[in-house]
């Protein structure tokens, strides 16, 4: 009798385990993303069966209507997991609707990832596994640098002398897109801050211990005003394309931009600005001010639908995205973007030289990015919208550095942000 019971129990256990394995083995999880460049990556993961028992069915949705389609889809089930963008404003509506599973709830450890600041909502909780990190820095046209007999400057004096030389030689020194708010707050201001303002001050700005009207920030903004002489004639009239094209064509020496501009996706071979000038060779560097760092901007992550019925399978996928193997594949298949994985891993052979340059810069990234801080962006006017206004004012010649800093500080104080008591 005991033997019979033991046998039945063993058979039941084996059957249950087998059923569970079989269930996982048959799982296909739906994944939505706006990032076309990930297609080859997920195709390869599926083809090589790198997440045992789970197939990822990726659907690429155009970036323009991604949010609206996602919101509609999540009301009716939707994808099991999806590409999320960065910043509290992106996460908050989904979190408010209980549509996202926090990464803690899912049980995936993201302590070994970079870019976690970009995947939190205003409650400070992480709702995605960071995926890619984008370099934001000064990007030089290598050919113009060579023509001027110069290298990427390493001090502020060298930077300003190089820019002056470029202007004297008939180039625009620093081409700026002053029209687009997203560029001014996410790219230009962050690169200026990373170059000019110490990591410690940036941290204190986020916690309210330091004020935007402090001398260090004002000095950085004063430089932006001063550099109008080395910039294109009308920065506020220049849009994003109007900034990039002259740099790529060699009419301008440099711009402040994200490395995505110069990227060569492995799956794409060439494209974007290389269609304008196939010989364009970018060089990267920080604004070599007192802090002298670049920005490692988290470019979103993988978020989980709170109502997914395939939680274990999704967990398996997201756990895989936190591994060195995924980081290797990411570099091999995407190329110019840096995976969020923070640990060491073997870099694949034969990568495009640009990837090496970008990786080298990433080692010198600022530790803080106030643009993404929930404490500065929880209410309107946010630090993001205020810094865009401040930069437009400075670039138009309407605001001094001190006035721009005051505009940001007063705007934040208006909703009693964390530093309001300290920075009246």
């Amino acid at each position: 009798m005991r033997l019979l019971k033991t046998t039945v129990a063993a058979v039941t256990a084996v059957a249950s385990l087998a059923t569970a394995q079989a269930a996982l083995a048959d799982e296909t999880v739906k994944f939505w993303t706006f990032r076309e460049q990930e297609t080859a990556l997920w195709d390869r993961i599926n083809a090589e069966n790198l997440i045992p028992g789970v197939t990822v069915e990726m659907e690429r949705i155009s970036s323009e209507d991604y949010e609206s389609r996602l919101r509609i889809a999540l009301r009716q089930g939707g994808p099991d997991f999806f590409g999320a963008k960065s910043g509290v404003a992106w996460y908050d509506p989904f979190v408010g609707a209980d549509a996202l599973l926090s990464i803690d709830e899912l049980g995936v450890d993201i302590s070994g990832m970079n870019g976690t600041a970009g995947v939190v909502a205003s409650d400070g909780v992480a709702y995605a596994v960071p995926s890619a990190i984008q370099l934001q820095s000064v990007i030089y046209n290598g050919a113009v640098l060579e023509e001027l007999g110069a290298e990427v400057p390493t001090t502020l004096a060298e930077f300003e002398a190089l820019m002056a030389d470029a202007v004297d030689a008939g180039f625009v020194g620093l081409h700026v897109d002053g029209r687009d708010g997203w560029y001014l707050n996410q790219v230009m201001n962050e690169v200026v801050m990373a170059g000019m303002v110490s990591d410690d001050t940036q941290r204190k700005l986020e916690t309210g211990e330091a004020c935007f009207t402090d001398a260090e920030v004002v000095a950085a903004f004063d430089k932006v005003v001063e550099w109008r002489d080395i910039m294109n004639a009308n920065p506020t009239a220049t849009d994003y394309g109007g900034m990039r094209t002259p740099v790529v064509l060699g009419d301008s020496l440099a711009m402040i931009d994200g490395a995505w501009t110069t990227g060569v996706w492995v799956s794409q071979a060439a494209g974007g600005l290389y269609d304008v000038n196939p010989d364009f060779v970018p060089e990267y560097g920080p604004i070599p001010g007192p802090n002298g760092k670049v920005v490692a901007h988290p470019d979103g992550g993988y978020a989980v639908n709170a109502n997914t019925e395939k939680r274990d399978a999704v967990k398996a996928v997201l756990e895989f995205t936190t591994t060195a193997k995924f980081a290797q594949l990411f570099l091999e298949e995407i190329g110019s973007e840096i995976p969020a994985y923070a640990g060491d891993y073997d870099k694949p052979e034969g990568l495009h030289p640009i990837v090496g340059k970008i990786s080298a810069q990433m080692a010198n990234a600022a530790a803080y990015e106030p643009f993404l801080a929930p404490s500065l962006n929880a209410k309107q006017p946010t630090y993001g919208s205020l810094s865009a206004q401040a930069y437009q004012g400075m670039l138009a010649g309407d605001l001094s550095g001190a006035e721009a800093a005051a505009l940001i500080q007063e705007g934040l104080n208006s909703w009693n942000y964390v530093g309001a008591g300290n920075c009246q």
Partner: protein
């Protein structure tokens, strides 16, 4: 059978039924796609909803936000002011330039059919195409600035699209160029309808030129002018594509090109990674306020139509 029906229904009753049957498809379609959403807008304005998750009833909070929160109120008033300028410039251009071109086309000018086509050519273009085209023409390294600098008419490129005070006028000029053909055709068809014999009779009766225009020509042109006025008002106060395509949801330098449509868009969808979405409720409030601005013109137009 037919005779029985004839006996049961008078001609007047049958005409009445026919009228309603003919009207019904339009009324049903209008009701489903316009009227019900319009009524729904009032309900939505009382809700906090960001396009996902449960709606929460918040009463008049969304109205209070727009009217009493300094940040949102100033933004709204700025967008309203810009929109009034946008409309004013466009309607002036349409009526003045449109009338001049229509008058010129009404003469037996050589090649006037070709001119008609040229004037009307931009009208079928998509708004997005016009925005991209105009942006290319007026950018720093575009043909207009290149010529101005090359001919020494300007020391450096003019920031047509980067000046806070200029940007809304640039948008208005793009819009006017795009829709001018519509105004010209409408005014031209009205001018053609002016009966010359009545004008001549007015002159024979001793009317002066201005009196003849006022009492004979203008009454004929007035319906076309009203149609243009109402359509342009509705179009300009509902327009967001020009601002969004050229300047993005942030509304241009210093919000100089922000209009009601782009303000509404920003309320519903945000303007970027750090711009909180206010929700469809606040967007609905902006939509209702926009409707209130347009309403008098629409009612006036409806009354005029009923008088006919």
């Amino acid at each position: 059978m037919s005779q029985n029906t004839d006996r049961l229904m008078s001609y007047r009753s049958k005409a009445e039924i026919q009228k309603w049957l003919l009207l019904m498809p339009g009324v049903i379609l209008y009701g489903i796609f316009n009227f019900i959403p319009l009524i729904g807008l009032f309900g939505m304005a009382l809700m906090d909803w960001k396009g996902i998750g449960p709606m929460e009833y918040v009463g008049l909070e969304n109205f209070k936000l727009i009217f009493f929160d300094p940040y949102y109120r100033d933004g709204f008033l700025n967008a309203l002011g810009n929109n009034i300028i946008f409309f004013g410039v466009i309607i002036t251009a349409m009526l003045v330039i449109g009338t001049i071109f229509a008058l010129l086309l009404s003469f037996k000018t050589y090649g006037r059919e070709v001119y008609k086509v040229i004037f009307f050519l931009p009208y079928p273009l998509a708004g997005a195409a016009v925005a991209v085209l105009m942006n290319m023409i007026f950018r720093d390294n575009g043909p207009v600035n290149t010529l101005l600098v090359d001919w020494n008419w300007a020391e450096k490129p003019i920031p047509f699209m980067g000046d806070k005070d200029l940007s809304i006028y640039m948008l208005a000029s793009f819009f006017s160029w795009h829709r001018m053909g519509f105004a010209i055709m409408l005014i031209l068809s009205a001018i053609v309808a002016v009966r010359l014999d009545l004008v001549e009779a007015a002159f024979l009766d001793g009317a002066r030129r201005l009196q003849a225009i006022r009492h004979v020509v203008l009454p004929v042109l007035m319906p076309a002018i009203i149609v243009i006025f109402v359509i342009i008002m509705v179009d300009t106060f509902n327009n967001a594509d020009m601002t969004l395509l050229i300047f993005g949801p942030a509304g241009g330098p210093g919000y100089g090109a922000d209009v009601m449509g782009s303000y509404l868009y920003r309320a519903a969808f945000g303007a970027g990674s750090t711009d909180p979405v206010l929700g469809y409720g606040v967007a609905a409030v902006v939509g209702i306020l926009t409707s209130l601005v347009i309403m008098p013109a629409a009612i006036f137009s409806a009354i005029q139509n009923n008088k006919k």
